[in-house]
Amino acid sequence: MKIRNILIRNPIWESIVRKEHRPSEWIQTKTLGLGLINLFLFAILTVTGILLMFYYVPDTEKAYQSLKDLEYVISFGMILRNMHRWSAYLMIVSVFLHFSRAFYMGEYQKPRQFNWVIGMLMLLCVLGMGNTGYFLPWDQKSYWGITILSNVISAVPVIGEQLKYLVLGGTEVGQNILTRAFDMHVKVFPLVLGLLMGIHFWRIRIDDGLAELIPPQGRTTAASVNNPGGNDPQGQTAVGWSDIITRESSKCLLILAIVMGMSLLFNAPLEEVATPSVTPNPAKAPWFFLDLQEMLSWGPPFWWAIVVPGVAVPFLMLIPYLDPGRTGSGQWFHPSRRVQNILFTAFVTVMIGLIVIGKFMRGPGWVFYWPWQPWPSP
């Protein structure tokens, strides 16, 4: 009981939950707690990332070698790299689920519009980290990913070539882009994401907690529930929160167990060392960008990789200001939000469908094959 009290009844938690509303059944059962899962995955990624950095060398000659060392020479290097990779994948999935959850529950409605925007920026940060992370091993996937990305960037009108020069730090894929990707991956994106996380959590307090169906005047505050008589009987404070903390801590342990299990069972892929003269056939982007790559195969990069995302991302970001609806906030699939939910589901289905097609149904030359169809031998 003593240790439990130290864990739960300490000034840190109390300062966080002091003015928070009493946790209702709702928060325990309906929000899935994905935000905290994301935070925990970010913690795993930070720790494993720092450890990987002790051996990784961001040099075109040495990067791949240091990856091989991590895999075969350094004790537990393989496990740590696997953990970094699999928790990154899990984080992308869980960030996406968090984003869908917020949409389907109308969480972005007034007064929480701005936190949706922050969330979208964080989603972009996570994708940016995923992308720059893919460049670091300097294997074939890194090299051709950078090549394709830099040429997509050059399709930006007017300033395309300068932008490509800026991203590559030159005209060809080489040391400068590796240095820049490393810098972005380990410093810029984590710092920005950390800052945005702070704002994201703080906004929850500012915006009066999460959206609930309970009318505000009907809410009881943590203080009035936990401290009904004005005194503070030992062991009675923040009972509701202690339950939540216990629950969420066990959830984090479960996530850790899943990441460790995956890392023990499956090794993170590593292709051959980057070879400019040989493009793997098919050359596929990381799975979370396969929807973009699939669209790239339809036509000019300007339309499919600049205009379409350039319209879709700001649109998604501005949803809270474009959707005038004020009902159904805090409830899954509220009938008054049918149109919004259908449109969102259609969008998400198309994106996931494109990723599935890109991943499982594209063979050499980006030709369509069913998953069970054999590819022609080269």
Binding site: W144, T147, I148, S150, N151, V152, Q162, Y165, L166, G169, G170, T171, E172, G174, Q175, N176, P276, S277, V278, T279, P280, N281, P282, A283, Q293, L296, S297, W298, G299, P300, P301, P364, G365, W366, V367
Partner: protein, 154 residues
Amino acid sequence: MTENRYSRRAFLNRVGWLATLGSFGGLTAASARYMFPNVLYEPPKEFKIGTIDNYPEGVDFLADRRIFVVREQNHIKVVSAVCTHLGCTLNWVAERNQWECPCHGSVFNQKGVVIKGPARRPLPWYEVSLTPAGRLLVDERRIVPYTETLSVKT
């Protein structure tokens, strides 16, 4: 009159703001410029590729330069092996007489013209000349039409 004068306080205030904004503006501009390197340690755009005897009849891939050398009897032509869509390295498929891109499926015929998208621009043919010592010199900065070839006496 004194109350209408531009006071020392207001003057210093304005100077202070200008200096502050100027410093931040200058630092921002300098940092932005800093990101564009002035010297590149990249392979030269003009290089020698040996003599015509190194290349048998047909299409040859030069891996370290990412070019194809096309020889038809004593005529030599050089074409880029980089897909004009998004920069993947093309494969020469002799049985279909065309270049195919592994990334997004673009196809170029033996003249370097797009016959299947998503690529839209044709492949650039590079100028080839002979050095006094009889070696082939490729200049990637000079794009020439497909019809221009270098005839080498063999």
